[in-house]
């Protein structure tokens, strides 16, 4: 589904990703871990198409398409979703209007008609329940005055509404208490099928207690320096990153 090959990207002239390789197949959950500043969020941003980042080398294939050739909204239309680390507030635009616009734009991109109001409301209720998002938030402005936990749940709610092929969660667990963490993870688990995939960017092992990854990758200095299974996450939790960094430096 997603094949990243030798990806190099920079921001303001500073190279952050320095030749990154990663392959994600349908039905898989990949966790990306790594110390601060290793390039985790950059990877998420580059995949979603944020303009500030400039890709200087490498290619990314998304379901047979050159992902880097597509605009951010085309990527969304193709089924790529990014749950933001810092969800943006849009004053005066109700959450429900926002997601309705998004759903219909993605449908239009895929040649589908707008969702009938009745169908939309049904979908809305169903997905709200999934992330235990209060109905009251639907009429509030997008993310305005939401608590940290509400914002993150709102991201997962939007993901559920858009039902993407590939969901990228950028440190969705940061700032969440254990209950919110459970709800967010539960949402992801419910959405998981054999046809879609998730890339979960995280600092901590604890999210992976709830979202069980098929692969765990350690990102360091703009490259994936180690890949393992969920046991690797436990090992990282116990021993930190230093041993991997040392290992990596020896091989270079």
């Amino acid at each position: 589904m997603l094949k990243i090959n030798g990806l190099k990207a920079e921001i303001n002239g500073k190279e952050i990703l320095k030749g990154l390789n990663l392959e994600v197949k349908p039905g898989e959950v990949h966790a990306i871990m790594g110390p601060n500043g290793s390039g985790k969020s950059t990877l998420a941003s580059v995949l979603a198409g944020r303009e500030e980042y400039e890709v200087i080398d490498g290619d990314v294939d998304f379901d047979g398409q050159d992902l880097l050739d597509l605009s951010p909204e085309q990527r969304a239309g193709e089924g790529l979703f990014l749950a933001f680390q810092y969800p943006v507030e849009i004053p005066g635009v109700s959450n429900i209007n926002f997601i309705k616009t998004a759903v219909n734009e993605v449908r239009e991109y895929n040649g589908l008609p707008n969702l009938e109001t009745k169908e939309f409301m049904k979908l809305l209720k169903e997905k709200q329940q999934l992330v235990e998002l209060s109905g009251k938030l639907a009429n509030r402005s997008v993310n305005e005055g939401f608590s940290g936990g509400e914002k993150k749940r709102n991201e997962i709610f939007q993901m559920a509404m858009l039902n993407p092929k590939l969901g990228i969660l950028d440190e969705t667990d940061s700032g969440l208490d254990i209950d919110a963490l459970r709800i967010v993870a539960n949402g992801v688990n419910e959405l998981k099928t054999k046809d879609n995939a998730f890339v979960v960017v995280t600092h901590y092992q604890r999210l992976l207690d709830y979202i069980v990854p098929d692969f765990v990758h350690v990102l360091y200095d703009g490259r994936i320096v180690k890949t393992g299974t969920k046991e690797l996450a436990l090992e990282l939790e116990e021993k930190g990153y230093d041993w991997i960094i040392d290992e990596f430096k020896e091989t270079v």
Partner: protein, 483 residues
């Protein structure tokens, strides 16, 4: 040119010996180029007006002659040559096309985006269709219904003929002839406009819209509107149209006067979308309007809501004189400028009565190389004990080449008054746009969404149907403003 019925009536009425003692060729449909006392007499005669109205016009003209065009507004444009304008052309139908294929495709595109039904599209762009007849009958049905309640809603000229006592009592009572350069000009040469009277205790059961009169003669560049709500009456009045309006006349100087008596309420909503000129600012309309209402009686209320997206230059300050005790004035405004447009708009709230209250919410959106200014005056007079004002002026910038300016003036002569002013300026952030894009929302649509969110508490004041159209209009006006 074939003579319309209206022309014939005018001709019949004016071919007698002319009692005002000047000689002009009244066979002609056009006034001579330029503005002199004779022009004013010509217009008045063409319209078969009573002498008092001619005198009123002449008084305005004489004052106008001594006035100078104001230049304090934050706009710049080549001043029109007032002697190079034709001030009267007999009402004639707009240029007719045989089918929509002959209409500017750009306009048709906009109609489509606005969702204007095909028949209305034809009517608005001057294609000959039966629908015009339909809307005449619709308008007539409404007129009957309103008539039963004693509500008068007609053209200004008709009111001069049918209800001269009302017109004479109120015209110029809120905006005196010499109020400003443009109001004086309008008073001297106004062509036509709307008149509305709601009798005591009557609540007008429908939104009164000039739209119903769309098929009537072109009211021209100097429009005059007078709305009177008698004691305890209520009316919601809609002016304008979201469809783009083109006009050969570059200068528009309208006057609107509202009188609200004791316990009366008038809600006045405008959507203005005059042609703004091309991307370089050529050919757009100058819209210099004087709008003012007086809360004459106790507990009365006047509320202005405006959505301004058109015109090359806008100069407009819908105002309230709060004379009655406990009277309320409101001003809700959205002004959008794009490309080379310039807008200097705002309001004046003049507190005279005790415990008078005013609210000002102004949302300015600037894109392209446009300049958008809010200019407002809150004046609390000596006797206005317990007066209160709240003003909120927010500006939103799209891109780096536009400008937003705020000029709030406060004059307070009463210590018990409370005046609050809040102002913010923000930019549509890359973050907001990227967030929308990532959800599949295209940039133009995202801007529409964000801008409509920004304007929400103004748009909420528009009547439902108007609001839906106005929202679409905001999106269209800002299309391509982020490249």
């Amino acid at each position: 040119m074939s003579m319309s019925d209206e022309d014939k009536i005018i001709e019949e009425a004016t071919t007698g010996d002319y009692k005002y003692g000047f000689v002009t060729d009244i066979e002609s449909d056009l006034a001579k180029v330029g503005l002199t006392e004779d022009t004013v007499r010509f217009i008045s005669a063409k319209k078969d007006e009573p002498e008092w109205l001619l005198d009123w016009r002449l008084k305005a003209f004489r004052m106008w002659e001594k006035m100078e065009e104001p230049d304090w507004a934050h706009v710049s444009y080549p001043k029109p040559n007032y002697q190079d304008i034709i001030y009267y052309a007999a009402p004639k139908p707009k240029k007719e096309y045989e089918s929509l294929d002959q209409v500017d495709p750009e306009i048709l595109k906009t109609f489509e985006k606005l969702g204007v039904p095909i028949n209305e599209q034809k009517a608005l762009s001057g294609v000959a269709v039966d629908v015009v007849m339909d809307s005449v009958s619709v308008a007539t049905t409404f007129k009957d219904k309103l008539g039963e309640l004693g509500i008068i809603f007609c053209s200004f000229s008709e009111a001069v003929k049918e209800h001269p006592e009302l017109v004479r009592e109120y015209v110029g009572s809120v905006v005196p002839q010499a109020d400003n350069f443009f109001s004086a000009l309008n008073s001297a040469v106004f062509s036509d406009g709307s008149f509305c009277y709601i009798p005591k205790g009557v609540r007008c059961p429908m939104e009164l819209s000039t739209y119903f009169r769309i098929n009537e003669a072109n009211t021209g560049q100097f429009e005059r509107t007078l709305i009177i709500a008698d004691e305890g009456a209520y009316v919601s009045y809609l002016e304008g149209c979201t469809a783009p309006q083109r006009d050969e006349n570059q200068l528009h100087a309208a006057v609107v006067e509202i009188v609200a008596k004791k316990n009366a309420e008038v809600k006045y909503s405008t959507v203005q979308n005059w042609y703004p000129g091309d991307k370089k600012g050529r050919g757009g309309i100058y819209n210099f309007v004087t709008k003012r209402g007086i809360c004459a009686g106790d507990n009365s209320k006047i509320s202005w809501t405006q959505v301004e997206t058109g015109s090359a230059v806008t100069w407009k300050y819908p105002s309230c004189i709060l004379k009655g005790d406990n009277s309320v004035g409101e001003f809700f405004s959205v002004a959008v400028t794009n490309n080379m447009q310039q807008a200097d708009t705002g309001t004046k709230m003049i507190h005279l009565g005790k415990n008078t209250k005013s609210t000002i919410v102004s949302k300015g959106i600037s894109a392209g190389k446009s300049q958008n200014s809010y200019r407002g005056l809150v004046k609390i007079a000596k006797g206005a004990d317990g007066a209160r004002n709240f003003s909120q002026c927010d500006s939103l910038l799209i891109g780096a080449k536009c400008g937003a300016h705020t000029f709030p003036y406060i004059e307070c002569q009463n210590k018990s008054a409370k005046v609050e002013h809040e102002a913010t300026t923000s930019k549509i952030g890359e973050d907001q746009l990227f967030y929308c894009n990532q959800r599949g929302i295209k940039t133009d649509k995202a801007i529409g969404l964000i801008v409509n969110g920004f304007c929400k508490n103004v748009m909420d004041n528009l009547p439902m149907e108007f609001a839906i159209e106005a929202r679409k209009l905001l999106e269209i006006s800002l299309e391509g403003s982020v490249g």
